[in-house]
């Protein structure tokens, strides 16, 4: 392999030396369509990376154009035109509307390619699709739009994390999030914001979304690389797919300013129907326990903790250019309240993009700066709450016949393990501030007209601090009722947590392009990268503050000496890579793309420092732009090996940490620890029929091997994370699936356009030859210690449910379960079964409609998931007869159920529900007024109305079937668990934007 690579390098170097220079010039002009000037049209010197885009008025200017070059004009929804320059300096073009989406230029790793020339499975979302979705987070834009990309919201909290899965899960323990590359800088995985501490059994804060720092209005395009032939150029980080985000650049021509603002209103969607005080009182008496009615009336949990949340945003951008430079600056402000009181996010973003040509236009210097400051305000709504519940739990279980306030205005206190939700809401404060700067500077040197050298230096710095406290006078088990050192009453908890990350990226890329002949062209690339990721965090916590102290977090030394805890950690990871790629076009219709990357990491074992990640993609265009029923037909095939870098630092090191004076072992060494690798192959077809129906079909097959796992049980090697030997397990994780996407241009004329798009993805996964039986999907709540719902085991899909089968109640109200032999039995004889049900859906569909009538545009998006099952841990923990008769509220059907008071809420299929749903996710209606009607200063005016989450069709009884509370056990994540997650919202937004 090494020798072959060397030969390849030599060949490349030989090629590099054969370039020659020709006279070059600047070409400018205007691009029009039937509807007027076209902004945003891609103008590229064919066969090169040299390109630009038209401005708002359709003007463009492009430098370094050889006199004999061909300019390629492309834009979504229009036929691409190739225009030979023939020595001209002004070229005006009229593009024909055509919805020719196959000819989009898509961003790939370290370059771009025409979608029609792509050999892999790549999906692109353009700015237009991004701005029409009212989302606080760029990743949400992908939801339902890209076949094979599943976005699951883990929480409805503003800024909360999303699970993004590209073609399913490729790992058990090493992370399944795709690599995100912003303007050529690959981001490190993991959370940049400070999480919360576990507040005495009430759970800790869930992670935040890693893409929060980007303002959606700054995004030009999002491209998703799904197959290995596309992602293998990112080698050890490509196994989970790659999402490439390109920010907007300055436009050429007169300075342009755009201001947009929006205002939105959100409320909780699908609240769980709990009993009212009247219903509770009635059921208490019907159940022979009138004593459960404590007399108060009017409590409604929704009023207690939810609200109509307002969202306001302001965005201002300026774009201008000089002779040699283009600049775009933007400022964004978003104030998003959460639907739970006292929660929300304020986000400030500033971005700067500049490109500068210097030294006789031989050097292009690009600068990108994205900065953000996010202030999060959270409440105690967390995934790991026990019997006491969190804010949501206590609001649900609060007996509605208890008052919230006593007559004297003080809080009514029921007990230290039975929390007053309003008191909890007002006694808990949790504020996090996260500042992040992602800056890159990248000079490109045009060494010859065929050879470019590009250097990228990127810095990603973030700092986040979180301060949370539970008031000193709040009654809570193990927190209140203490004393200070001098014996005064004390309580409360304070928690400080800060995280600092400093990541550096260095990329060196040499590209070579040559059209050797009509029948052979080559685009080759050689690169070297170095990444350094530094992570640092500190925490401090204290308990037992004098009850008179109000502000705990800013005066934490008020806590009791003996109950102080602090911790700190710091680590640096390094990654070094060598990579090469060749893209060849043979006889105009055979496209070959081969890449090879060597990745070295400090995290793998000493003997396995470097991994080799090769890939090949081949595409054959059977028809291209034919004037026949079949306009385009391309078949694609790809094969590649990719890795997964998202496993813990020090995984292969033996080390210890001092703890309370002693030195404790924290990790064992394994010099042979190697990357988890995923071998992929896939085939695909892209087609366009009858000039109006385009689409693609993909089949893929992925095998992940060498799964990294803390070595269980070999002697002297404990299984608990943090003090284990990490090993590569035998066995494989297999994913197979297929994806279909279709776009139909129903109508397209001067006044009307309408297109319908749909996509569907089907995915199966299974463990093969896997020696272990791994538990995950931990179930929380009283009497549920150590309970779990899911397993990962041989010959089973990931996250298969393993539960007692519940069959109803017997005459005495005791649950009937299935025994091992299938007969009916009581709880004592119940036997857990491996169910043919998994937490992962196997079918994802998306459907959208886009169109316009004159200046009115509209779009609608729907999506759904099928085949997955949800374990309703919320119901398991809180909803059963004993809970009702134990003075807690439940939904009516649990109060009226024929269940005995003493029948335990043992985990079973009683709480396993289908997670199928279909959602009307988004409706947008916009009206745009163009320059001619607006006088001299205003170019464009747009009004937009959008509604989100208009309805969801589902049988699921919890808040929302689109849920994924991470109930990991020993670092093994779960899927499809629902436990007291922050509910999703629905609402609408009104927007206005003005272009100057």
């Amino acid at each position: 392999m090494r020798i072959n690579l060397l030969k390849g390098f030599l060949l490349l170097i030989t090629m590099l030396c054969s370039g020659a220079m020709l006279a070059q010039t600047t070409v400018s002009g205007k691009v029009d369509s039937e509807e007027g000037p076209l902004p945003g049209v891609n103008v590229v010197v064919k066969g090169t990376n040299n390109g630009t885009a038209t401005d708002f008025d359709g003007y463009y200017s492009i430098d370094n154009v050889p006199a004999d070059a061909v300019l390629e004009f492309s834009f979504v929804g229009f036929s691409t035109q190739d225009v030979p320059v023939n020595g001209r300096t002004t070229i005006d073009v009229n593009l024909l509307a055509d919805a020719q989406t196959l000819d989009e230029v898509v961003v790939i790793g370290y370059g771009t390619v025409k979608k029609s020339d792509a050999t892999g499975a790549i999906d692109a979302i353009g700015a237009k699709d991004i701005t029409t979705v009212n989302a606080a987070n760029p990743a949400e834009v992908l939801r339902g739009k890209v076949a094979g990309v599943q976005i699951t919201q883990t929480s409805g909290e503003p800024g909360a994390g999303l699970n993004i899965r590209v073609r399913g899960n490729s790992s058990i323990r090493s992370g399944n999030d795709p690599l995100i590359v912003v303007d050529g800088v690959p981001l490190a995985g993991g959370d940049v914001s400070a999480g919360g501490g576990d507040v005495n059994g009430l759970g800790s804060a869930p992670p935040r979304n890693p893409l929060n720092f980007i303002n959606q209005d700054d995004i030009e395009s999002i491209n998703v690389l799904k197959d290995a032939s596309s992602t293998a150029i990112y080698g050890s980080r490509g196994a989970n797919g790659v999402i490439l985000i390109t920010t907007k650049k300055g436009t050429i021509g007169k300075p342009q300013f755009e201001y947009s603002t929006s205002m939105g209103f959100q409320k909780v969607s699908n609240p769980i129907d709990m009993m009212s005080s009247e219903q509770y009182a009635e059921q208490a008496s019907l159940n022979g326990s009138p004593g459960l009615d404590h007399g108060s009336r009017g409590y409604d949990y929704e009023d207690a903790i939810f609200r109509t949340a307002n969202t306001i945003s302001h965005d201002l951008s300026a774009s201008f250019s000089g002779d040699d430079s283009r600049t775009r600056m933007s400022f964004g402000y978003l104030d998003q309240e959460g639907i739970v009181k006292e929660t929300g996010m304020q986000k400030y973003t500033f971005s700067l993009n500049n490109s500068l040509k210097a030294f006789n236009e031989k050097v292009l210097l690009e600068t990108n700066v994205l900065t953000s400051h996010i202030a999060d305000k959270a409440q105690l709504i967390t995934g790991g709450a026990g019997f006491i519940g969190n804010l949501l739990g206590s609001a649900l279980y609060w007996n509605p016949t208890y008052p919230i306030f006593n007559d004297d205005g003080s809080y009514f206190v029921k007990g230290t393990d039975y929390l007053n939700p309003v008191q909890l809401l007002n006694s808990y404060d949790d504020n996090a501030n996260t500042t992040r700067i992602l800056a890159s500077i990248s000079p490109t040197v045009h060494i010859t007209d065929k050879i470019d050298y590009k250097f990228v230096f990127g810095v990603d710095y973030s700092t986040s601090d979180r301060a949370s406290q539970l008031a000193a006078d709040f009654p809570l088990n193990d927190v209140s009722g203490g004393t200070t050192a001098d014996g005064s009453p004390a309580g409360g908890l304070a928690f400080l947590f800060d995280v600092e990350r400093f990541n550096k990226t260095f990329e060196n890329i040499l590209t070579y392009r040559n059209d050797f002949s009509e029948n052979f062209s080559l685009n080759a690339l050689l690169g070297y990268s170095f990444y350094s990721y530094e992570y640092k965090s500190n925490t401090a916590s204290a308990r037992y503050f004098n009850v008179n102290q109000k502000n705990l977090v800013d005066n934490i030394e008020g806590g009791k000496n003996s109950d102080f805890r602090a911790s700190s950690l710091k680590n640096v990871q390094e990654l070094q890579s060598f990579f090469a790629r060749a893209e060849m076009t043979i006889f105009n219709n055979l496209l070959v793309n081969a890449s090879l990357r060597f990745d070295g990491s400090s995290k793998v074992g000493e003997n396995e420092t470097y991994g080799t990640f090769p890939a090949v993609g081949v595409a054959y265009k059977i028809f291209e732009n034919e004037d026949s029923p079949v306009n385009n037909l391309k078949v694609r095939g790809n094969w590649g090996i990719v890795g997964n870098q998202e496993f813990g630092v020090y995984s292969s090191r033996a080390y210890g940490r001092y703890n309370n004076g002693g030195l404790s072992q924290a990790g064992n060494s394994n010099a042979d620890l190697k990357w988890e690798t995923t071998t992929n192959y896939g085939i695909g077809i892209d087609f366009r029929l009858f000039n109006n129906l385009s689409g693609s079909f993909d089949y893929y097959h992925r095998i992940t091997e060498d799964l990294i796992f803390p070595q269980p049980g070999a002697s002297n090697v404990p299984n608990n994370a943090g003090a284990a030997t990490f090993v590569n397990l035998p066995g494989q994780l297999k994913n197979t699936g297929y994806e279909i996407s279709l776009t139909w241009d129903v109508i397209r004329n001067e006044d009307w356009s309408l297109s319908l798009s749909g996509n569907a993805a089907f995915l199966d996964n299974e463990m093969q030859d896997f020696p272990l039986f791994i538990e995950t999907g931990g179930i929380n709540g009283q009497g549920l210690t150590g309970a779990y719902a899911q397993i990962i085991a041989d010959k089973l899909p990931l996250y298969t449910y393993y539960l007692n089968e519940w069959r109803g109640f017997d005459a005495n109200g005791n649950s009937i379960y299935a025994a091992a032999d299938g007969s009916d039995t009581g709880l004592g004889g119940a036997s857990k079964k491996v169910l043919k049900k998994s937490g992962l859906p196997d079918t994802n569909v998306g459907f959208s409609l886009n169109g316009n009538w004159k200046s009115l545009d509209f779009s609608a998006a729907f999506y759904g998931q099928f085949g997955g099952y949800i374990y309703n841990n919320t119901a398991n923990a809180l909803f059963f007869k004993g809970s009702f008769l134990g003075d807690r509220n439940v939904p009516l059907e649990y109060a009226t159920a024929n269940q005995a008071q003493g029948d335990p809420n043992s985990p079973s299929t009683r709480y396993l529900e289908s997670g199928d749903f279909f959602r009307f996710a988004n409706l947008n209606i916009g009206y745009t007024i163009n320059g001619d009607r607006l006088g001299n200063y205003v170019d464009r005016l747009r009004f937009q109305f959008s509604a989100n989450n208009l309805f969801v069709i589902t049988d699921y009884s919890g808040f929302d079937p689109e849920v994924d509370t991470n109930k990991a056990i020993s670092g093994v994540n779960s899927a499809g668990m629902d436990y007291l997650a922050y509910p999703n919202s629905k609402g609408f937004t009104l927007g206005l934007s003005v272009g100057f």
Binding site: S664, A787, G902
Partner: protein, 514 residues
Amino acid sequence: MRLDLNKLRNLSFFTAGLLLFTACTDLEETVIDGVEFEVANTEYAVSNANPADLLASAYTAMRGPYQDQARLFCLDEHSTDAVVGPTRGGDWDDNGVWRQLHTQTYAPDHGFNRDTWNDIFSAINQANFVLGASPSPQQEAEARFLRALHYYHVIDLWGSAPIREIGSDPNASAPVLTRPEATAWVIEELTEILGNLPGGNDATIANKNAAHWLLAKMYLNKAVFSAENPAGPYNFDNGDMDMVIQHVDAISGVSMAGDYWDNFLPDNTQTSSEIIFVSENVGGVASGNVRSRWFMGQHYNQTPSGWNGFTTLAEYYDKFDPNDERILKWFPDVTEKNGYNVGFQIGQQYGPGGPGVGAALKDRPGNPLVFTKELTLITGGATLETAGIRGVKYVPDNDSGDNADNDFVIARYGEALLMKAEALARKGDLAGAQTIVQGFKNESSTSINSVDDLLDVRARELWWEGWRRNDRVRFGKFLSPVQLKEYESDPKYVLFPIPAAALANPNITQNPGY
């Protein structure tokens, strides 16, 4: 092609840049926030860590497995007639883990079986690091004692024992010793280190007395550990029994405590003359979960609010005279602050102040808080919260918050003497055994007419101290019916299953039947 000087200059600038950043890194990972152990190609050959620091952590690593109620305690006591964790409506179902222990229906996915395995091997590993760090002879002996103690539990609970020797290939799967091989190995280890262990009776460190005690324990159980069939029959060898006697007799400087409860006070190690070895706790600072020994059974409405969990069984309680001080003791301080007796609690319970002073407590639905002998595995009705006799094994430390001061007793002289009595009895010297037994308070009139009579003596003296399973196995009673498990269990349950995840080591085979 015309050469442009400007271009050349720029080129050289960027080439320099390229070289600057292309200087390859060796990708050596540096442990910044800890101590990287400089291991060569041999595991545990740690050259840069202070062995004293590692040893300190080897001691604290015992707190989890030995003190927590959901580790050794639950495997050793719930699986017998001494403890049961009844399911109380929505409380203590825990997906059946407690019921499975008592009804002897555990399987390889049993969570606390797995956690105990992990914690024990974690402690073993910590001891091994001491051995790899060039310890002094005494440090080495202490670490090897701790390791031997942990392996006693591995052999006792799971049979075969994966043992990775210092200096073995760190990346090979650990070799596994059979149960008899591991037993011989532990005895050999203890015999070798005896000379280097400190004398005296500081029970917080491994000492000579502790090693003699553990050797006696190993010889006493050797017949069990080397039986062809783990469920018996066991052929006790007189030579082994002589070794038991010899090692118990070698224990010096300790004596029976004046008061049984001295062993379980917050300052027990300082007060009691009987304690041989403990897992040490530092009150208010750092402790294991010894407080579970009074929280786990106490009702929510008792003080402090407990967990309303585990109980003993009537047939176990009935082995005692109800007034036996070992299960009924009123400490004025505890009565005042907690309102209850230590030992077993039965009948009406009271708030701080105790009977006649404190309030007669009620359960949460309002029924009188009366702990009863009547008990079902899944409670219900009016006695949902109150069924079952509760136990308080350690005298509550009301002054140290979450970090109770009571050291957790692993070995005490009384237990060693009962081992000697049993060894004598197994050799046929029932009179000698009876003499020892009658030296115990509240056993002065106990007669020993057969070896089996000693099982109840141990049940009384050592209640909830973690020996019940081991004793019942050795006396051939472990699988017999007990209250709330009214059947003879399948012989496979005499050993716990190897946790499912541990089978990743191909050298380990699952215990027969699982």
